[in-house]
Point group: C2
Chain length 214, copies 2
Amino acid sequence: MSNKPKVSNAIIRRLPRYRRYLGVLQNKGIKKISSNELSEIIGYTASQIRQDFNTFGEFGQQGYGYSVDYLYKEINKILGLDREYKTVIVGVGHLGQAVANYTYYYKIGFNIMGLFDINPEKIGTTINDVEIKAFSELEDFCKSEGVDIGIICVNSEGAQEVADKLVAGGVKGIWNFAPIDLEIPKDVALESVHLSDSLHALSFMIKSMNAEQE
Amino acid sequence: MSNKPKVSNAIIRRLPRYRRYLGVLQNKGIKKISSNELSEIIGYTASQIRQDFNTFGEFGQQGYGYSVDYLYKEINKILGLDREYKTVIVGVGHLGQAVANYTYYYKIGFNIMGLFDINPEKIGTTINDVEIKAFSELEDFCKSEGVDIGIICVNSEGAQEVADKLVAGGVKGIWNFAPIDLEIPKDVALESVHLSDSLHALSFMIKSMNAEQE
């Protein structure tokens, strides 16, 4: 039991990208692809790609390449996306509502079972037919519904308390949007969305391009 | 000129993480750190860390380690965070408002100069004292204000049109939250926030932990 599964953090980052690009290829009607072609699209080296796929099984044939449909399906299984997840969102400000709408609109298999907030004016109202409940009900709700994932959309100050309640409620994973490092037990998965990392990568790219153009 | 600066995509991802963890160390009052200690916290190997820092200069002393303050400051410069950026947000639904509040609340040097939407009921209202303008004004506004970064918070269907207007308006970079691959010229930096990648990494971690516990 560990926050860090045996597979490296780097491959955890690459697998969802493979899935996303394979989905694009599927939508374009492309049936097979070589590791070299995939390398062109996704930006990892062909040998990296072959090595990644070999970690999980034999997905391709020498000289033929990979079946896009088969690979997409297999990566879905590897990622645990061949099932649905029960989730709750805690904090129904703009961010929480954006995440609720995102999961609802794109039908991605992460079903919002409950929404929680501390604002009395919001409690009892609904978003996409899901009622907003009081934060005090969170732990019991997670237990009784068997919630898999808690999504934290409160600000930095409240995030650890929310995480504690989710853990007490027995969730298996936390998707955290608050920009702080949460402390949670090692047997609960934690994925934080650090928007600043993404924005800083962008500023770095802008700076690098300017340097090249000078 | 290229969307892909000479530095590898992997290091572009690591640099903002170094910065974030160094910021945490600073807040804790920690003055110096070795590559081994940093490795423990951040999860990259010590040799990877030394190699990354060597790419950009001589930041540490053999046997002494790195000065946290100095390294933080230098990484800020490398990331282009020693200046401020003029930004606009296009699409002021929940997501756009969440991003607007995030940049406002955390004072991160990416200043929102304008907000744009197509909804007549929103146009003319304000968020954090910034007025929401009509989408039709976007290109001219970017030109006249010298906007650096356009933030796309519309849905997949409208995102390419927004990107085209931002490019025509002369932005240097686009921060895209719509889950599609945008087509933009090679001299404009593009960073897309793929929430699904993050969520799928989480489901993979949950699955990996369950497997270990069985």
